[in-house]
């Protein structure tokens, strides 16, 4: 599913400075891997990359696909492509960002192929955001009942179902940003979109999830 939102407005409406600059050297999680050896085709270094990154990359792919078996297959294909294309890595991003971009693209292609599409459309996500008049809320958001949140036994299932309902590009951003806690700039690089677009879609996704959860957690008015 291709995003239909106005990319230009997403990019220009936000003028906040990026807090992070893309790294030009290997660092962080892949710090222990000899990047030069990897680029020179060292199989031992690549094996280390597989051992080091497989669990996290698998979790990301499962959360996008919702299918463990398919995720393992996509993971293997990701490493195969990475191994064959290692010479194309230009050190313009972290190695893991480049690797995850391959995995995410393959997972999204698999979703499109299998037609396991989300139930919400982009326009519906937009409609789930609050309305404002003269800059103020049109409708006061009803307070949530903390006891309902803690006591609801199927809370996790409810949230999971909500995330699964999101359009695929929104869901992917929620997974990468809110669950895996990658930075906005890293997510932007993985998805090849602007940081502003990541922020806008993340905000809309969170707003849509809040709206979906609202009826379940809302405090009952006093009799």
């Amino acid at each position: 599913m291709e995003p239909t939102k106005e990319k230009e407005s997403e990019q220009t409406a936000r003028q906040l400075p990026d807090s992070e600059v893309a790294t030009t050297t290997a660092e962080g999680a892949e710090g222990a891997i000899d990047l030069e050896a990897l680029l020179a085709g060292d199989e031992k270094a690549f094996e280390q990359l597989v051992i080091q990154e497989s669990p996290r990359l698998f979790r990301v792919i499962v959360r996008i696909l919702g299918d463990d078996d398919e995720a393992e297959s996509i993971l293997q294909e990701t490493y195969l492509q990475a191994y064959q294309r290692m010479h194309t890595f230009r050190k313009e991003s972290k190695l893991t960002t480049w690797l995850y971009a391959i995995g995410i693209n393959l997972a999204r292609a698999s979703l499109r192929k299998s037609r396991r599409l989300s139930s919400l459309e982009d326009q519906e996500v937009e409609k789930m955001q609050p309305d404002f008049n003269r800059g103020m809320f049109v409708e006061t958001p009803g307070a949530w009942d903390p006891s309902k949140i803690t006591e609801l036994s199927d809370r996790q299932q409810l949230v999971r179902r909500g995330i699964e309902q999101l359009p695929e590009d929104y869901r992917t951003i929620v997974v990468l940003r809110d669950i895996e806690e990658y930075s906005t700039d890293e997510v932007a690089q993985m998805l090849d979109i602007s940081s502003g677009a990541v922020r806008v879609r993340l905000h809309r996704a969170r707003g849509a999830l809040r709206k979906l959860l609202d009826p379940h957690f809302r405090r009952q008015p006093a009799e």
Binding site: L75, Q76, Y83, T140, P141, D214
Partner: protein, 93 residues
């Protein structure tokens, strides 16, 4: 909201609910500069609507974090290495 804040908002000197909502993700993620953050906190401190919304927004994020547990297969990396040995010019160790 207090009258002064309403007046400031009307005059465009302080952010209104819509502006606060627009930058909520940056606020929650700690990506706002100090001056803007303080303006937002002034507004949120006085506005019941934004207060409720912010609380629910944060709760939604924390519930998202705690959900979607994934069990990683124990032989995951080994399976991948076996796949590479079969399908690529890769011998590994």
């Amino acid at each position: 909201m207090k009258a002064l804040t309403i007046l400031k908002t009307a005059l465009g000197l302080a952010p209104g609910c819509k502006k606060v909502n627009e930058f909520l993700a940056e606020y929650v993620d700690g990506e706002l500069d100090d001056k803007t953050r303080m303006q937002f906190e002034d507004h949120i401190g006085l506005c019941g609507c934004c207060n409720h919304y912010l609380d629910q927004y944060k709760t939604t994020i924390s519930m998202t974090k705690e959900t979607m547990e994934v069990n990683v297969p124990s032989q995951l990396a080994e399976h991948t290495l076996t796949f590479l040995r079969k399908n690529a010019d890769f011998s590994g160790s």
